[in-house]
Amino acid sequence: MENFEIDSKRIDQIEKITLEEKNFRIKNLELFKTAGFPNKKFEDWKFTDFRGIVDNNFKKLDTEKVTYDFKNKELLKNFDHNYIILVNGSLHSNNFDYEEKNKIKISSHDNNINYKLSENPLICLNHALAENGYFLEVEENYKFKKTLVIYNFFTNNIKDKILNNKNKIKIKKNSELHVIEYTINESKFKFINNVYEDLTLEKNSKLKSLYIQSKKSEGFFHKYSKSKLYDNSDYVNLIFSSGLRFNKLDIESDLIGENCSCNILSALFLNKNEHQEIKTRINHLVPDCKSYQRIKKVLDTESKGVFQGKVYVKDVAQKTDAYQLSKALLLHDDAEFNSKPELEIYADDVKCSHGSTSGTIDEDSLYYLMTRGLSRKESTKLLIKGFLNDVVNFIKNPKIKEFVENKLEEQINAH
């Protein structure tokens, strides 16, 4: 870590923290310093040498605050929505004009101590230094009328930085929220964004989140998302984050209440030099829960896709229904797909299965389309769309679906 030196003085600069929090931060910083950036020796990073990536891409790195000049940017016009604007990770403004204001609480994220120590050095780093982000609370019995878009802006002067943010969403009983996390990166430079997300879904609540970006970006993104699901709650996570230079989503879901369901769905198209990694861990801790994972990736030249999925079923979690599928389509010789779909099961009356495939476009299908008068290129595109479409079809709102389809199309056309 010659390019990244950090000491506890950085923690002193963080305002308004208790001694307890300070100690927690210092402890985590020590953990990070001992471990360094993760490399392949970490089981969770089996297929990715992040330390090597950092060394190759950054001559120096720091976590100093950035001053920025943020003027109101153009927002999405495709559909009506509420919004939160984050600039370089910190809460800038919000707008809930479509909703009952007393049902929603929003603030900058504060409390940073009630977290478990982690073996992932990047999470330690986040625990040590995170100071921005938001905390959104939805009160009981409230169903959002419109989708909430979280604009994640990165200003054009972000360079050689590690931004650590912590975001928290809590949905109380019988409430429902749909979120679109929309990343807009204006920086042409390389930087690392390291996010810790904390989600709580109380009884009978619903959360649907969708993750997408505006265009190609040089940023390196790592997000650890921890969700807790109580009785009858329903969590859907849709991932369409194509176009990022490096992106790792580490999703851990604890199914704590009976009859809850957890769905992780992803359709990605990776262009040249892009790296996308999805790691999941679904902990079935009580009976009668459902989890469903469907990850689809199309990989072009020199791109790399990784899927590490784990389903853990505790001995009491009978009648669990868990499904996990990862499929990859390799379009070029230099593309690489690695997967590790894992099952760890201690209960016998369960239905657990997983599948993982990778291969190229079927020549017979191509031939069929070409006999119908399409060019080879058009046929390929059509097959790719067909391959990714079964995930896109999970989006119910037609306007949002169209928006996502267009974004995917932009990616595919760049091929």
Binding site: L330, V350, C352, S353, G355
Partner: protein, 478 residues
């Protein structure tokens, strides 16, 4: 009464341990012990050097610890690395001296009386031994030019072959247990099938003279020259009792152009008692190299014994169009633990591999499938199909699947699927209704579950293995 029973089991357990009279290397692992082994085996200088090289390397290695089943620390200085085969006087005199449970299992498997004696280590009548099939077979093999002998004999008589191939698939420096084996292996089998020869029978350690007591560090080397074929059987369905707790064998297979090796294992070593006390640690390194074009290596294993089974029979598919196969049944009951699977490394063009793994856990057992499929950049048109199914009986046991899949070639296709479930209640009910009791019904259903693998076993094993599947699960349902 209970006390008596205890005495009895003790008697059996220690019935095998030799007295001080037998030739034994002193306890511990050091250069002198290695020299002692090499000397007693009358090995040439180069072999001793090879062993010492491995030993030096071992000093810098650490035991791997990533596996799922954990075990108490092994004190390598507290083990005997060599002890000569026991003399007749040490062995049980007749079947009455053998553990009645063992005899019962033999009967269930349908093993003939004479074989029962042989298996339980009774000094077999010399007449029976001399007319044994083994000798007749040996003549036939010699005629075809097949070399089938203990590896220590091969080191003396066929040094050019051993030098060329030993350690070429599992390098000296591979990992802790493999390197330990390279330093201290005592014996094992050596097979060489000459060019164009199809071995007329299944070769088995069982037929090899002096095959018993190869010790805990066995080394097997099988070379199939161009266009040849051999089927090799390891172990046997009958329960094998052994006083060595640690077994770290190395098996190397080499298939040249158009050659095929079929390697079948039935492992039924002592799994420890119902509470998980005792039992063998089976830490084996098995690896085959498909060096030549169109070559094929097929591993089939039925793992029912041992307290801990930890092995990954692998194929390195170097030759173009080569094929690797892995068929496995791992049954764990009581406190047994298995962490097994395979590695298929695709290097050549048009290489194919197929993995079928069936894991069954009952009682408090843990069963893990861990495998790697690695398609290299140059392995165009490679193809892999993996299927691992697990069956759970009870909620105290565990079934895990940990596959690693790497695909770096766009023209290749990799497929993996896995399921975990319990025995279907309806099927059980149906069997019960037809007059089968619970245990028979489970035996039948499990056999059906394992069918794809059982079919791969050679005739010699197939029938007994089916019975074994049922027997291994006895008492798992209650």
């Amino acid at each position: 009464m209970k006390q008596q029973e205890l005495e009895k089991s003790k008697e059996y357990k220690y019935g095998f341990t030799t007295d001080i009279e037998s030739v034994r290397a002193p306890k511990g692992l050091n250069e002198d012990v290695i020299k002692f082994i090499s000397n007693i085996k009358k090995e040439p200088e180069w072999m001793l050097k090879w062993r010492l090289k491995a030993f030096n390397r071992l000093k810098n290695l650490k035991e791997p610890n990533w596996q799922k089943p954990k075990y108490p620390k092994i004190d390598y200085q507290d083990l005997y690395y060599y002890s000569a085969p026991k003399s007749a006087s040490d062995k049980p005199k007749n079947l009455n001296e053998v553990d009645p449970k063992l005899i019962e299992t033999y009967k269930k498997l349908g093993i003939p009386l004479e074989e029962q004696k042989r298996l339980s280590g009774i000094a077999v009548d010399a007449v029976f031994d001399s007319v044994s099939v083994a000798t007749t077979f040996k003549d036939e093999l010699t005629k075809k030019g097949i070399i089938f002998c203990p590896i220590s004999e091969a080191i003396r008589n066929h040094p050019e072959l051993v030098k060329k191939y030993l350690g070429s698939v599992i390098p000296l420096t591979d990992h802790y247990f493999a390197t330990l084996n390279s330093a201290v292996f005592t014996d094992g089998s050596f097979v060489y099938i000459p060019e164009g020869v199809r071995c007329p029978m299944e070769l088995s350690t069982y037929f090899r003279i002096n095959a018993s007591e190869t010790g805990q560090f066995e080394r097997t080397l099988i070379i199939a020259d161009k266009g040849s074929y051999v089927s090799y059987l390891e172990g046997c369905t009958a329960p094998m009792r052994d006083e060595n707790q640690l077994h770290a064998a190395n098996v190397e297979l080499i298939a040249l152009d158009d050659a095929e090796i079929k390697y079948s294992t039935v492992q039924n070593w002592y799994p420890g008692d119902k509470d998980g006390v005792g039992g063998i640690y089976n830490f084996v390194t098995k690896r085959g190299a498909c060096r030549g074009k169109n070559s094929k290596i097929s591993w089939t294993q039925v793992e029912t014994g041992s307290a801990i089974t930890w092995k990954y029979p692998s194929c390195i598919l170097q030759g173009d169009n080569s094929v690797g196969e892995f068929y496995s049944i791992a049954i764990t009951n009581n406190h047994q633990k298995a962490d097994t699977g395979t590695k298929m490394i695709h290097l050549g063009k048009n290489t194919k591999s197929k993995i079928i793994s069936k894991g069954i856990s009952a009682g408090y057992a843990d069963n893990t499938y861990r495998g790697l499929v690695d398609i290299n950049k140059k392995a165009s048109n490679a193809r892999n199909y993996t299927q691992c199914d697990s069956l759970l009986m009870g909620n105290k046991c565990g079934a895990h699947t940990v596959p690693y899949i790497k695909n770096k070639n766009y023209s290749s296709i990799v497929e993996h699927e896995a399921t975990t479930s319990k025995i279907n209640e309806e099927q059980l009910y149906y069997c019960n209704q037809r007059g089968l009791n619970q245990e028979e019904a489970i035996g039948l259903i499990v056999n059906g579950f394992c069918k794809e693998v059982l079919q791969q076993l050679p005739m010699e094993f197939a029938v007994e293995a089916q019975k074994l599947v049922g027997i291994s699960l006895e008492g798992s349902v209650g």
